[in-house]
């Protein structure tokens, strides 16, 4: 059943609502006429983020947008997508030094390293028999859509730098995040929303905050930074008009500001004023569009049940539903963060916690997008900032695993990714990615490629370098991941 409500109809509905509630009185006519003259000029002004860079896309895009599902904390690949029977056989035995000698290690420094076998069962799923753990029964149902990569590597072993690395391709602070790059290159499809939206969920265990610099625009213009929509309170800070100021009055105020700015700028010639006027335009539109987005009361109960979302609860499930709605409204890069995957101890217990909150909503998001015919042009990426060690860590009463960067798992789906395949391998103990290694940079290059961007030709001069998301070292597009 096609329930799609396309972007156009949503915008039309917004305008109707506004006008019907507006009731511009006779007295306001004079002001309205004055400000409406501006509306013609407005269309000539470039809107805030909708324009793409000249020359882009370099090639035909497969995906129009990205939804990045970040499992913050680092989910264990060994209990999700990477089954290691040899590790099971060596459970409790010392971890062979040949693997760990001289390698970076996090909290397990100085501890005697022992093997920990997989703490779950794995089964084959889908047409091609994808091996997926029992912790993820719902994702297993859509195994045919998943392009699982088991040979990921990253370079940063602690959370914050690893997030920075995953987001910006560098451990050096101050670089733009993926979402900012993508919006800078392709612009946004929506005038009512920022092109880069971040949703962090509550629920489960959340020991570590995610710093907002993870979605900063770095040295790119600030308007490309991610805007976080909050789960509780005002979705966006200062979104609401002050008490006693309805939409009509706020609208008149905003238009007056824009009119006066434009008028003064004829004399002053400040280049930034056009951007400012567009920023006020979007700010005002968001005052309507964001509440409309967050109001899921119009969704059928069957959809809410599919995600397991309670409106306004700030859960990952609700955020997945919001992600679909954002996708429908033309947002280019939607980044979800669910924390709590940092299982140094009590892994089984916390895997259950995390998977209960994220597994079904992930399935729901994929299925929902597919039903609406949107999966083909929406690239979904799932994974954390790193994986977890084959060696056991005893924090808490039950075994866990430490941070691990030499080999871990992620998956892609939709947007031109090749579903139903597993790519790459780690060694027999799940320590090193050994076959068809995919570096974070390669993931970025591949993602940009699917969006129609040649990562080598997409750069910004800064500090004497032609800065790229994929950096100065080599990065390859992983063709085998493309359908």
């Amino acid at each position: 059943m096609n329930q799609s409500r396309n972007y156009e109809s949503i915008i039309r509905a917004n305008r109707r609502t506004f006008l019907s509630r507006g009731g511009l009185g006779l007295g306001a006519l004079a002001l309205g006429t004055l400000l409406d003259r501006d509306a013609v000029g407005q269309r000539r002004t470039a809107s805030l983020a909708s324009s793409r860079l000249a020359g882009l896309p370099h090639l035909k895009p497969r995906a129009k947008r990205v939804i990045f599902l970040c499992m913050a904390g680092g989910p264990s690949h060994l209990e999700t997508f990477d089954y290691k029977p040899q590790l099971a056989r060596m459970n409790g035995l010392p971890m062979p030094e040949s693997f760990t000698r001289g390698e970076p290690i996090a909290q397990l420094q100085g501890v005697e390293l022992k093997c920990q076998g997989p703490m779950c069962r794995f089964q084959q799923h889908g047409v091609n028999g994808q091996t997926i753990s029992d912790f993820l029964p719902w994702q297993a149902k859509v195994a045919d859509e998943l392009c699982i990569v088991r040979s990921m590597v990253t370079e940063q072993i602690n959370h914050d730098p690893a997030h920075t690395f995953m987001n910006t391709g560098s451990a050096i602070n101050g670089r733009p995040s993926m979402g900012a790059w993508v919006n800078y290159g392709l612009g946004s499809e929506s005038d009512d929303f920022p092109g880069f939206v971040v949703l962090t969920s509550v629920g489960g265990r959340n020991p570590q905050p995610i710093a907002s610099r993870q979605w900063s625009a770095g040295f790119l213009p600030s308007r490309y930074q991610g805007v976080e929509f909050n789960a509780a309170g005002d979705p966006v800070h200062y979104l609401q008009s002050p008490a006693g100021v309805n939409l009509v009055r706020q609208r008149e105020l905003v238009q007056t500001i824009q009119h006066l700015d434009r008028h003064r700028n004829q004399q002053v010639g400040d280049g930034e004023v056009d951007t400012r006027i567009a920023a006020y335009e979007m700010a005002f539109r968001m005052q309507t569009s964001v509440p409309e987005l967050m109001d899921v009361s119009g969704e059928p109960q069957s959809v809410l049940d599919m995600y397991g979302a309670e409106p306004g609860d700030g859960s990952f499930a609700s955020n997945c539903l919001l992600a679909r709605r954002l996708a429908e409204r033309g947002v280019r890069f939607i980044h979800l963060y669910h924390r709590g995957w940092d299982h140094h101890g009590d892994l089984i217990r916390y895997m259950n916690t995390c998977c209960e909150l994220t597994d079904k909503p992930t399935w729901a998001l994929l299925s929902d997008l597919k039903q609406r015919g949107m999966l083909d042009d929406t690239l979904i990426i799932w994974g954390g900032e790193f994986g977890r060690t084959p060696m056991v860590q005893h924090k808490g009463s039950q075994p866990g695993r430490d941070h691990h960067i030499k080999g871990f798992s992620m998956w892609l789906a939709g947007g031109g990714a090749r579903g139903g395949v597993t790519y790459g391998e780690t060694d027999e103990l799940g320590y090193n990615a050994v076959k068809d290694v995919v570096h974070v940079r390669d993931l970025h290059a591949t993602m940009l490629h699917l969006l129609g961007i040649n990562h080598e030709r997409f750069s910004v001069p800064y500090q004497g370098l032609d800065m790229r998301l994929t950096g100065v070292e080599s990065a390859r597009i992983v063709e085998e991941l493309l359908s």
Binding site: P207, Q225, G233, A243, G244, E252, L253, Q463
Partner: protein
């Protein structure tokens, strides 16, 4: 400013830089005297320039200077740029008369959206807003939480201070627009500003006189006919609307902790608050011209 070194651009005034460097050394490395020297120079005190010669559509024609030197590298005029975050706050508070001008002392905690610190950990923290006059102190005294910088400051590009920021970006984002429009602190300031306007000597106070006063206070000049006309229309429109909804007027003027003037007509005050909110949101108000 982050571009020093072999790969950066060469300076435009090398002799001036040499001279200033010598001055700095000879002054005994006195940074304050250098600042004073620079800001009292004729160069610094230039105007950022207003265009002459309106074209046929009333557009100012690009002055010769602008076409020759669009980035103002030669400093033949002063540049205009948006004020840094702390000063945006100070400017708004100062215009409204709410700014508390005390020096020194402990950091202050002005209004901040509820629950902003909920993700903070190691340890968890609760934000306790100051409800006395401390809340109107200068921006430099505001409490600095690096990972969770106050949203208004963040919206106006204040750095987190996790690392040295040689030059702040100057962004124009919807987030900043929303902060300046809807932050209760600024709405309150607009209302108090409006109270000032309504208290101008009664005999002379016409709408035009009020707008003149407001403009002079905010941007140090008189409004031109178009500006007067537009703001008058807004004032009249909101007067009409608030006259029909006096409850809304009372809600608006009650925002903030500065005591509400009880002797002023709420409808008038609310309408003028719309005008002052507009003026406080003008580009010119928060720009160093």
């Amino acid at each position: 400013m982050d571009d020093f070194g072999g790969q950066g651009l060469p300076p435009d005034h090398p002799q001036l830089l040499d001279r200033l460097a010598l001055e700095l050394i000879e002054s005994g490395w006195d940074v304050k005297s250098m600042v004073k020297l620079i800001v009292s120079s004729k160069t610094y005190r230039q105007s950022s320039g207003v265009r002459n010669n309106r074209g046929s559509e009333g557009q100012g024609v690009l002055s010769e200077l602008e076409s020759m030197d669009p980035e103002n590298r030669l400093f033949a005029r002063q540049s205009h740029y948006r004020l840094p975050a702390e000063l945006v706050r100070d400017a708004v508070l100062s215009i409204s008369g709410l700014l508390v001008d005390e020096y020194g002392g402990a950091s202050v905690k002005p209004y901040q959206p509820a629950g902003y610190y909920r993700h903070l950990n190691f340890p968890e923290r609760k934000y306790k807003q100051h409800n006395d006059r401390r809340q109107w102190r200068r921006g430099v005294y505001v409490h600095w939480q690096r990972q969770f910088l106050h949203p208004m400051l963040k919206a106006f590009d204040a750095p987190r201070r996790e690392e040295c920021t040689a030059e702040r970006p100057r962004s124009n984002t919807p987030t900043a627009a929303m902060a300046l429009l809807n932050d209760p602190r600024f709405v309150e300031a607009a209302r108090v500003f409006a109270e000032q306007i309504l208290r101008i000597d009664d005999q002379s106070r016409t709408d035009t006189a009020g707008l003149e006063y407001a403009f002079r206070k905010a941007v140090s000049r008189s409004p031109d006919p178009e500006e007067l006309h537009t703001l008058t229309l807004l004032l009249e429109s909101h007067r009409r609307q608030y006259a029909k909804t006096p409850g809304a007027a009372r809600e608006l003027i009650a925002i903030g902790q500065a005591p509400v003037a009880r002797d002023l007509d709420p409808v008038q005050l609310a309408a003028w608050t719309s005008v002052t909110r507009t003026i406080l949101n003008l580009n010119e108000t928060i720009t160093r011209n």
